[in-house]
Symmetry: C2
Subunit: 425 residues, 2 copies
């Protein structure tokens, strides 16, 4: 039995009862002979409450102090969890990100892990303890300031520790049973995925699937750490994310042609209309955007109308960055030389993901046919080797996702029934 | 203009409004040309709420994790305070106890400061920042674990930092205007004390005055750091605690014969009845108490009755320790050989404190006369060089304090009026 890293999110430790339930699960793993490292998020809404307090004292809280503030959240949950474990008769020690050796760069609020030196964790484990580590936080290499890793940072903490400690698996406990072939709130017949390859999971995460964040999967792939996403409530097998297919009973789980359908309605579309179709134009547009530190998603350029020599360039980006992008482009208007800007935040993105589509030429056609049959108009198209994404009206998204899910045979048999908490296909 | 350490308690930073008010006061000190170090407690009831959470997950929370938990409180308040200061256009950085170099022993929940190495604070100050430091917390020298200093620990943090940084003064901001000649809730005519010597303040603190804790005054005396206790609400001059009298306008404030009257109703009295009057008896009683790690206050032994050769030994201790003390004495009954134990938690203690009583022989008599005139029965008496304490019925305490306060001429003239927020004698 090797070392296991378990990560519990805020909803799993929302109150004293949740903490006690999680403590029991941790102790079970320890009793099964594992060395156990636990990464924990802040309780329930703690982080949001702290953000609210910060906004009350300062409209623009600074990075360093904001991180100092937010890290109080995990400090509370990890100490309580260690107490609850001790109360079950097992020894546990809690460690801040800094104590656990999570070394980051100095970019406050969204720091990146650059090294993990878990000497104290190793010692605690060797002395028979369960180690509880604060997720989401680290300490900056140069200034020794407290940093946070941004949204979903606790998952990254867990994977990074699993890599540094050479863990067998990184278990991500959450409030759903795993990764599904589509969002079960939209597609009632969505199925839990038993196994998915890192590449497909990366595309799903990038396309709007919320269960695992892109950065965490990227980290796990780089260090080849299998992730097991599962429910902290049900205790059932969840979704394995790894390089190689898993064994289930006598059978090896096969790679599916299509892993799933993801959607995202958090983006907006900017169209730069009437751009001269000559070298350097796209560059000047996206230089203006990059200088404003805005991350963009899809970029599409249509062919130019021969009569005018002008073209349109569209891109999507988080709605929250919309204002900033428009401001940046307006400032750069004379440099770029476009006609006008269009901003549309009533869009949605639907993505079909699957490594199998590389060798199955009908996938793209089937995708568009399904959308057409559902009466959904396509506004933009963008593809990668294992993903096709389209932009549609936001209102069309639920219907479009269901249509595509059915068309690619992803719907579960209605007889099998249990989707949440079910054992899958 | 030198360096000033300011300490703000939980009631001063109870909410966002409080934090903003305190931020303004800090910025004023900075504008006046001081280097400013601020020690801050957890907001309002945060610490109690965290203790409540701990009790929900574990009936006996362990020291290490309990400290990890509680230190989240100051982390929140200090980060918010730094943000609020920045919002006023001044630069501020917050530091945990560990970052501030507050090194303690390893006794969790009531650690003692053994060294202060404020290198990062010094750097922050030299770079023009206001330094905000978490009160109440430190890091253990041997294990590098987070520790807390126990009740009132933030005051000690402030004084210790003031000593290490060679500050001009340590300002303790609180919700009252200073130290009074008696508790103003009991004695309406109590006066604010302009200046009090360390020795008298130590006795007052030991006798039930809550404004400053004994440990903090002791530390200030050892390093000769003047303390200025004042209100974070009114901004008026408060009480100076120091070695040498302060100057006020053209006049030096004189040492009063009597500094004040303190009272304490948090103690209980244990009487060990029928103890053989021979060497070693008292020792065996207090060895049993000490082994149970109980701190006691007054100890009184009456002369033995000649007929029996037996004596009674009484002592007082915090009510919270009562059960433990009785248990310890019952266990040691055969060793000690007493008749019976009496436990009484309906007592109160009244203490008259003043360095002047050394050279004013009438003080003790006057004290007893005042109590007698008020019809208050004395149950125990104990004295030091500059203090007389008596134990009475708890019910008699308010009347007794008022009588003594009046008898020693401490009442303010009713014409002067303003007691809270007044300028004193």
């Amino acid at each position: 039995m090797g070392l296991v890293v378990q990560k519990y999110g805020g909803s799993s430790v929302a109150d004293a009862e949740g903490i006690k339930r999680v403590a029991k699960r941790i102790v079970e793993a320890k009793k099964n002979g594992h060395q156990v490292v636990v990464v924990v998020s802040a309780m329930g809404d703690t982080t949001d409450e702290l953000i609210d307090l910060a906004e009350q004292v300062s409209p623009m809280p600074s990075g360093r102090e904001f991180d100092m503030l937010l890290t109080a959240g995990e400090r509370i949950s990890m100490a309580l969890l260690a107490m609850a474990i001790k109360n079950l008769g097992h020894s546990a020690q809690s460690f801040t990100g800094s104590q656990a050796g999570v070394i980051t760069d100095s970019v406050h609020n969204k720091a990146r892990i650059i090294d993990v030196t878990p000497g104290r964790i190793r010692t605690a484990l060797d002395e028979g303890n369960i180690a509880i580590v604060a997720g989401f936080q680290g300490v900056s290499q140069d200034k020794k300031d407290i940093t946070t890793l941004g949204r979903g940072g606790s998952d990254t903490t867990a994977v990074a520790l699993a890599a540094a400690l050479d863990a067998e698996v990184c278990e991500i406990y959450t409030d759903v049973d795993g990764v599904f072939t589509a969002d079960p709130r939209v597609v009632k017949k969505a199925k839990k995925i038993d196994w998915i390859a890192f590449e497909d999971m990366l595309e799903l995460a990038a396309s709007g699937s919320k269960v695992l964040l892109h950065r965490c999967v990227e980290y796990a792939r780089r260090y080849n750490i299998p992730i097991h996403v599962r429910s902290s409530f049900s205790g059932l097998q969840g979704t394995w994310v790894s390089n190689a297919p898993i064994q289930q009973g006598d059978q090896k789980v096969e790679q599916a042609i299509i892993s799933g359908v993801a959607h995202d309605t958090s983006e907006a579309k900017v169209t730069v209309v009437g751009v001269p179709d000559k070298p350097g134009e796209a560059a000047s547009i996206f230089r203006a955007i990059a200088d404003a530190e805005i991350n963009i998603d899809m970029v599409v350029q249509n062919v130019s109308a021969a009569s005018t020599g002008l073209t349109d360039i569209s891109f999507t980006l988080p709605k929250t960055e919309g204002r900033k992008a428009i401001d940046a482009l307006e400032k750069a208007r004379t440099v770029i030389g476009y006609d006008s800007l269009r901003y549309d935040d009533q869009i949605g993105k639907i993505s079909l993901v699957g490594a199998g589509m590389k060798t199955n030429p009908g996938v793209t056609a089937g995708f568009f046919e399904a959308l057409s049959d559902a009466g959904v108009n396509i506004e933009l198209i963008s593809t990668s080797e294992i993903r096709i994404s389209v932009v549609t009206r936001a209102d069309d998204v639920p219907e479009a996702v269901r249509a595509v899910h059915t068309a690619f045979g992803l719907d579960s048999d209605s007889d099998e029934a249990v989707v949440y908490g079910g054992t899958g296909r």
